[in-house]
Symmetry: none
């Protein structure tokens, strides 16, 4: 589950903060508002990747809001997870019929929430899980978390894996060191740009025995590029 933009609609400030902290801690971007009205205002100009909706909201209830969303073509595609209290079990029945994708019962653990978000996204078809292959025989499997060349496994560290993954998803395109830091390390990483060079080096070193080092190309003065075409 890569970085997501999550819109939280929850009237209790404490829960709102908790959710923001939790989700941001997991590397997502969060916008939190206390009611449906404010949520609508935001939705009119920016579409989030997922909506966390409290069942009890002042003004327009969560269910009503969900129904309203599902009527709008543009908004209907946004997956919704509804937050319910334990004694609102009957909300589930009503919710299922109004197009809510899943429920989380309060109190919930961070783990449970993130797991359900993952599940909903998977169902929604944000398919981040296919094996990526190059013509040369290099393959990266995000699910198994393995990299191989002609079925011979390669061993690479966490950062090198992420770097290669990014490159294989975005081939034939130069990225500056700053861009790579943003995409691979994440926006809040305070790291020297030169560090990228080192990890590029480590990645090449792993690919070298298989003769695939030339996939990682230096573009002098600009950055790096992953490409099957020669330099």
């Amino acid at each position: 589950m890569s970085e997501l933009h999550v819109l939280v609609v929850e009237d209790e400030a404490a829960v709102r903060e908790l959710l923001s902290a939790t989700l941001e801690g997991a590397g997502h971007r969060v916008t939190a508002v206390p009611d449906a009205h404010k949520a609508k205002a935001l939705l009119s100009r920016d579409l989030p990747d997922m909506l966390l909706l409290d069942w009890m909201l002042p003004g327009m209830s969560g269910i009503e809001f969900a129904k309203w969303l599902k009527r709008d073509e543009r908004l209907a595609a946004v997956p919704i997870i509804m937050l319910t209290a334990r004694d609102e079990e009957n909300a589930k029945v009503a919710g299922l019929e109004s197009g809510v994708d899943d429920y989380v019962t309060k109190p919930f653990s961070t783990r449970e929430l993130l797991a359900r978000m993952r599940a909903v996204l998977r169902r929604a078809g944000a398919d981040d899980s296919k094996v990526i292959r190059t013509r040369g025989g290099l393959a990266l499997d995000p699910v198994q978390h393995r990299v191989s060349v002609d079925n011979a496994p390669l061993s690479l560290g966490p950062t090198e894996f992420k770097l290669l993954h990014f490159f294989m998803v975005h081939p034939d395109r130069v990225y500056s060191r700053a861009q790579l830091l943003d995409m691979v390390w994440g926006a809040h990483a305070y790291v020297e740009e030169r560090t990228v060079d080192v990890h590029i080096r480590r990645l090449r070193k792993v690919l070298e025995p298989a003769g695939m080092e030339s996939l990682i190309q230096t573009v002098r003065g600009v950055g790096y590029r992953f490409s099957e075409q020669a330099g």
Copy 2:
């Protein structure tokens, strides 16, 4: 949902009849008894596919009965749906902790009941009863609740068994500690992630003498993976 054998435990004759009629109408085979004692007698010789359990039972309460069931290896696998009255909402809390899979609040619609049965069965994972084997000679028999390597039995604790079972059903795939806690411990387990490490350790220790420890692979920064392919 194909034809199921459902055991109903409910003291009120009227509700019992209603359930029998409903379920038989949906094409299932139903056995209905008024109390836990009679249910136990039946369970000793015939395992149903699902249990519908009233919360208030004479003699032994539904919760107590559920706990008793979950203690028995053979019976623990039978999914349980508990029937509660609207003013017994607190039953749900107690029930979740005693291994009940879902609830239906009386009065309920046929549709809701059948939908929840479907959901519970889906979660319980159909056909959970075949022996699973690896090429290396490791075998796990969910029915006998036994693990062996080349027919030599291994002894492992309950959690290690569940963990190995999960891994063998989902091989060649990395799972984060959070995912493993969700899948093996259950979503509502409030446990440290590091606890997973300890159980991984114990599982490896058991597999070690048979030289099968390498099946459980650490994926640094991500989690663990069960695979027959080397690291």
